[in-house]
C-alpha cells in the first residue's frame, strides 16, 4: 500500500483480528447483542458506526489539546451526540426514507462504548489522520463481528439471509423444512447473540494462543 505507511496499515488491520473491539477489548457488546437478529440491521449499524467513529475521532483529535481533562468524557459525549443528531436531521430533510431506517440506530450509536472507548484511548493522544484510520479500523472490526453474528442468527433463527428465504419455506414445508428441519426461535433472542460472540472469542483464542490471558 503506497498511500499508507506500515504503521498506518496496522491501525486498520489490527482491530480486524488480534485487537478486535468486540472479541478482545469487549466493547460495544450491548449493540452487538441488540441488533444482530437480522443481517441487514447488522450491516446498516456497521456502516453508521464507521461514519460516526471516523468523523468523531477526527473531531476529538483536533480538539485534544484544548479539552479540559476533568470534563473530557462529557465533552466527548457532547461531540458524538451533536454529530449524530445533525446527521439525523439532515437525512430527515433530504433523504427521508433512509432516515427512517437509520433513526432506530441513532440512540444505539451515541451509547456505543466503542465510540467513547476509541475517543478516550486513541483520539485524545494522536493526530487526526491516525485517529481517522483508527476509527475506520475499529468500526471495521466491530462490523465484521456484527455481520458474522447477524449471519448465523438470521440463518438459524429465521431461515433467511437479508430477508431472502435460503432454506425453503417453513410454513409450506419446502427445501430443508421438508425433511423435518425447524428454525430455532431462540437464535432471535439476545442470549444467543452472546453465545455466538462467545464461540467467536473461543475460536479466535484457540487459533492464536498469544491472545489468552494468564492468570
Amino acid at each position: 500500500m503506497g498511500l499508507l505507511s506500515k504503521k498506518d496499515t496496522k491501525l486498520i488491520t489490527d482491530p480486524l483480528a488480534d485487537n478486535n473491539p468486540i472479541t478482545i477489548q469487549v466493547l460495544g457488546i450491548c449493540s452487538a447483542l441488540a441488533i444482530t437478529a437480522e443481517l441487514k440491521a447488522s450491516i446498516v449499524m456497521s456502516i453508521s458506526v464507521m461514519f460516526v467513529l471516523g468523523l468523531g475521532n477526527v473531531v476529538i483529535s483536533l480538539m485534544r489539546n484544548i479539552i479540559p481533562s476533568k470534563i473530557r468524557i462529557i465533552v466527548q459525549l457532547t461531540v458524538v451526540a451533536a454529530l449524530v443528531i445533525i446527521v439525523d436531521q439532515v437525512l430527515k430533510a433530504f433523504a427521508y426514507e433512509l432516515s427512517k431506517t437509520l433513526s432506530v440506530f441513532v440512540g444505539l450509536i451515541i451509547t456505543n462504548c466503542i465510540i467513547m472507548g476509541r475517543f478516550e484511548a486513541f483520539a485524545l493522544a494522536n493526530g487526526p489522520w491516525k485517529s481517522f484510520l483508527d476509527g475506520i479500523g475499529n468500526s471495521l472490526g466491530y462490523g465484521v463481528i456484527l455481520i458474522i453474528v447477524g449471519f448465523f442468527r438470521e440463518l438459524l433463527g429465521s431461515g433467511t439471509l437479508l430477508g431472502f428465504p435460503v432454506l425453503g419455506d417453513p410454513i409450506a414445508k419446502t427445501g430443508l423444512y421438508a425433511i423435518g428441519y425447524e428454525n430455532n426461535g431462540f437464535m432471535l433472542l439476545s442470549p444467543m447473540a452472546l453465545i455466538v460472540v462467545g464461540i467467536i472469542i473461543w475460536v479466535q483464542r484457540t487459533r492464536n494462543k498469544a491472545l489468552v490471558e494468564d492468570h
Partner: protein
C-alpha cells in the same frame, strides 16, 4: 508544571463555550431544516393512509409506498372525505389527517368525549374504506398505524410503524408478512360486540387462515411490541364503534 487545561477557570469557560457553540449549531440545524422535515412528514402521512387502503406500489414481498411525488395527487383522488368525530358529532375537515394523535390524547386527559377522532373515507374499485389512525406504545417508544375497515369493521388493510423498536424483532411490525395478516380479520366477535385483534403467541394458526378468531400470529422475540399493537387496536378502534353502529342503522 500545571497544564493550563487543568485549571478550574479554564474548565468552566470551556464548558460554557462548548454549550453555546453546540447549542447554537443544533438550534440552527433544527430550525433551518424543520419546514422541509415537516413537509416530508405530511407527505408520509398521506402515503401511510393510502397504503392502508391498498393504494401502494407493493411488490411480491416488501411494502412500498406510492412515490412522494404522486402522493398528494393520489390522496385527493382516493380520499373522498376526511371526518373528525367529537363526542359523537361528525364534521368534515380536510386537515383531519394532520391531527396529532399523541397531543390530542394528552389534551383530552383520558376523557374519550373530548377527543378529536379523525376518520378518512376512501373509495377504491367501488369498495369503501374507513381508515382510522391508531397510536400507542411499544417496547422502547411510540408505535402507530392506520387501519382500513369496511362497514362491518372487518380489516381491509393495515399499516404499522414505530419510532424505535428493536431492529429484526419489534421493528418487524412494519413488514408485509405481519401487516398482511390483519387483512380480513374481524374486529367484532360473532355477536357483534367489540373485541379487537390480538397479536397472539401460539394461536396454532401461523398462516392465519381463521379470520374470525380475532387473532393474528405474533412475531417471535417481539412480545412487548406485539402487545402494544394489540393494545392500541383495542383502545383506539373502540372509540369508533358508535360511528359504525350508526352507519349500519342508517
Amino acid at each position: 508544571m500545571e497544564n493550563r487545561t487543568d485549571k478550574n477557570s479554564y474548565t468552566i469557560i470551556f464548558a460554557i463555550a462548548m454549550v453555546i457553540v453546540v447549542g447554537a449549531l443544533l438550534a440552527f440545524t433544527a430550525s433551518s431544516l424543520s419546514p422541509k422535515i415537516s413537509e416530508n412528514q405530511r407527505i408520509e402521512k398521506q402515503q401511510n393512509i393510502l397504503y392502508a387502503m391498498g393504494v401502494n406500489d407493493n411488490d411480491e414481498s416488501s411494502a412500498i409506498f406510492v412515490s412522494t411525488k404522486d402522493a398528494p395527487e393520489l390522496f385527493t383522488k382516493y380520499i373522498s372525505k376526511q371526518l373528525v368525530i367529537k363526542n359523537g358529532e361528525v364534521s368534515e375537515d380536510d386537515q383531519a389527517y394532520l391531527i396529532d394523535l399523541k397531543k390530542d390524547k394528552a389534551a383530552s386527559g383520558g376523557d374519550a368525549t373530548k377527543r378529536n377522532l379523525p376518520l378518512f373515507v376512501g373509495e377504491k374499485d367501488g369498495v369503501t374504506h374507513y381508515i382510522i389512525p391508531i397510536y400507542g406504545k411499544g417496547l422502547w417508544d411510540a408505535i402507530w398505524g392506520y387501519v382500513s375497515l369496511d362497514e362491518n369493521m372487518v380489516i381491509q388493510g393495515a399499516y404499522f410503524d414505530h419510532k424505535g423498536e428493536t431492529p429484526g424483532l419489534g421493528a418487524n411490525i412494519k413488514q408485509r408478512y405481519f401487516m398482511d395478516d390483519f387483512i380480513g380479520e374481524h374486529i367484532l366477535d360473532d355477536n357483534g360486540n367489540f373485541k379487537g385483534v390480538t397479536v397472539a403467541k401460539g394461536n396454532a394458526d401461523p398462516t392465519n387462515e381463521n379470520k374470525t378468531d380475532n387473532e393474528v400470529d405474533a412475531i417471535a422475540g417481539a412480545t412487548i411490541t406485539g402487545d402494544g399493537v394489540t393494545a392500541m387496536i383495542k383502545s383506539d378502534l373502540k372509540l369508533y364503534k358508535p360511528y359504525f353502529d350508526n352507519l349500519k342503522n342508517n
